[in-house]
Symmetry: C3
Subunit: 242 residues, 3 copies
């Protein structure tokens, strides 16, 4: 199973091109679109979102991850094996949160460059073929070298920022709920939010936070749109208070 | 074939998680994204849209349907067998229009709860596994009980409201064209609209209604964007006049 | 492999209906969503975008192409075989740029009409079944007649307009980079843009053009959103200057 996690835009002409390459290299492998609207240009938020989502997928899943504002510049191409899953993408920090939280991760630098390599679309020309090789269980030994770490590392610690806003206006933070105490409150844009277990526990219209479906602290309003009402944007700071 | 009909947002991180669960449970079953932008929080419009779209799919299709603002509260989980197709989702009215229009529908309450059940994401944890069992023809007898009806019923009758606006600005109503007389006009926001058979019959710029590709009365403007020009939104009332 | 290229809207209820029909007719054929946000009502831009994207896909790919504002009127339905790939869609110019640039293309008029044919959704009822037949290698001889050309022809030459804007705000033109000289500049909205090879060659904030991942001249701003900052829209004219 290949999982796509990119900032291409779900509506873009880029997704289909990548999927065609994957299909040509690995026709029997299922492809799943996890996210094509990862926060563009925001590697930090994307790295934390990826780290929260990855454990939802089974062992041996191969993640093709592209949030890559530095494509065509000097950044390296990398692969990480972390907690049973594979991650292929730019070595710009994107894979580094997953890696830092994993038990004995392994790292490779991809030195292979295809003959036809677009300056701006390594997702299609470089990362997709590598991901396909891994997914069909043909490790491309000749295309990469094992290494001891990533070049760019964001670390394992939580990110006290908004990292994703969903269709209902709920705002995920980069903080894992298990890192917080049960009575911790979140301070955002000057307002204090208490924790609730489920939406139904909170009167309509009151903002709160809760542990969301992937283990993150998420800000919501029962029967309301938290992002709109609290004016939350990706990258906004969140503070933990008692 | 599993058909996904949700309000997750096509661009959200939720769709891929559900598809991964479906794939793990039923790897050989084709998954089709019908709609991930069902009118959020609007069960009535969503139920009527689902009822209009379902007949386009072949017998034995399994619909995984999630428009579920009450997730985590007391609403039940249900399954309906209606006119040869299966529908899995919340018992909040969403499945009730399909059911009310079917010949001898059957009903089940899903009493099974998985060990790991997110308070806010029953689509992934509860409905997806059930849909997968049905789709691979392994009826989960131990997970549900047959019952005689749904708890929340919206009835079989048409809905005189806008229920969907497409990419071109055409606005679907919840009224089936066959329920209307040929010379009926539609009154919306004070304007009267005549019926036409095809766009080419109407001068450019004139609003009209016609029977759309799924049998609903739909409001359009030839060479124009009806939703913008008539200021139509989902939930707006439409009246039938002579 | 069937490639979908439409203006239905990625979030619409139309895509899933088409995919269900394709799946019923050709269950073993892979379907790839290339674009569902082709410039609606803009056949010219869509035709040039299709012509640039098609060569990214392997021989024998079948393109189901629907940008079809005249659906239900007198326009014909057509199929083109061009440089090893198949294209099924309306004969309104959409397929004509691909065809004009191909070596010895072949043409067919589709005279078949299904018993159930929506006036507004030939993508589902007419084009999808034809595309499925081609993709599963069962040429529908009884449904079409070979012909010598398309009715509507836009020609092989480049289009000096913006034809697509991506998620990052980069604006593709309908001009192939290989048609331009290396020192050509582009004039758009009164501003002159030089060519660069890669983003990293250009100071942040400076607009430029470069050969994009499908061979087109594309306008971008390093570390910026060109479409917003230069106020670019699909259809805007671009001029080549020395």
């Amino acid at each position: 199973m290949i999982i796509l996690f990119t900032d291409f835009g779900h509506a873009s002409v880029y997704v289909g091109q990548v999927k065609s390459v994957l299909y040509q290299h690995a026709p029997r492998v299922r492809q799943i679109d996890l996210l094509h609207d990862a926060p563009a240009f925001n590697i930090k938020a994307s790295a934390h979102l990826l780290a929260a989502l990855a454990p939802q997928f089974p062992p041996d899943s191969v993640f093709l991850t592209v949030v890559d504002p530095g494509v065509g510049s000097v950044r390296e191409a990398a692969m990480v094996f972390a907690d049973g899953r594979w991650f292929v993408g730019p070595d710009n920090g994107l894979l580094s949160v997953v890696a830092a939280r994993a038990d004995k991760p392994k790292f490779w630098l991809i030195h292979w460059r295809p003959r036809k390599l677009s300056h701006t679309f390594h997702g299609r020309d470089l990362f997709a073929p590598i991901a396909a090789f891994i997914a069909k269980d043909e490790f491309p030994h000749d295309k990469m070298d094992e290494t001891t770490s990533l070049r760019v590392q964001l670390g394992a610690q939580d990110l006290a920022e908004i990292i994703y806003i969903d269709n209902y206006g709920n705002a995920m933070t980069g903080m894992r709920a298990k890192s917080l105490k049960f009575d911790n409150q979140l301070l955002v844009h000057g307002g204090r939010l208490r924790r609730a277990t489920i939406f139904a526990d909170v009167p309509g219209g009151t903002p709160f936070w809760y542990e969301n479906c992937v283990g993150l602290a998420e800000i919501a309003i029962s029967s309301g749109n938290a992002a709109q009402e609290l004016d939350l944007k990706i990258g906004d700071a969140v503070e933990v208070v008692k």
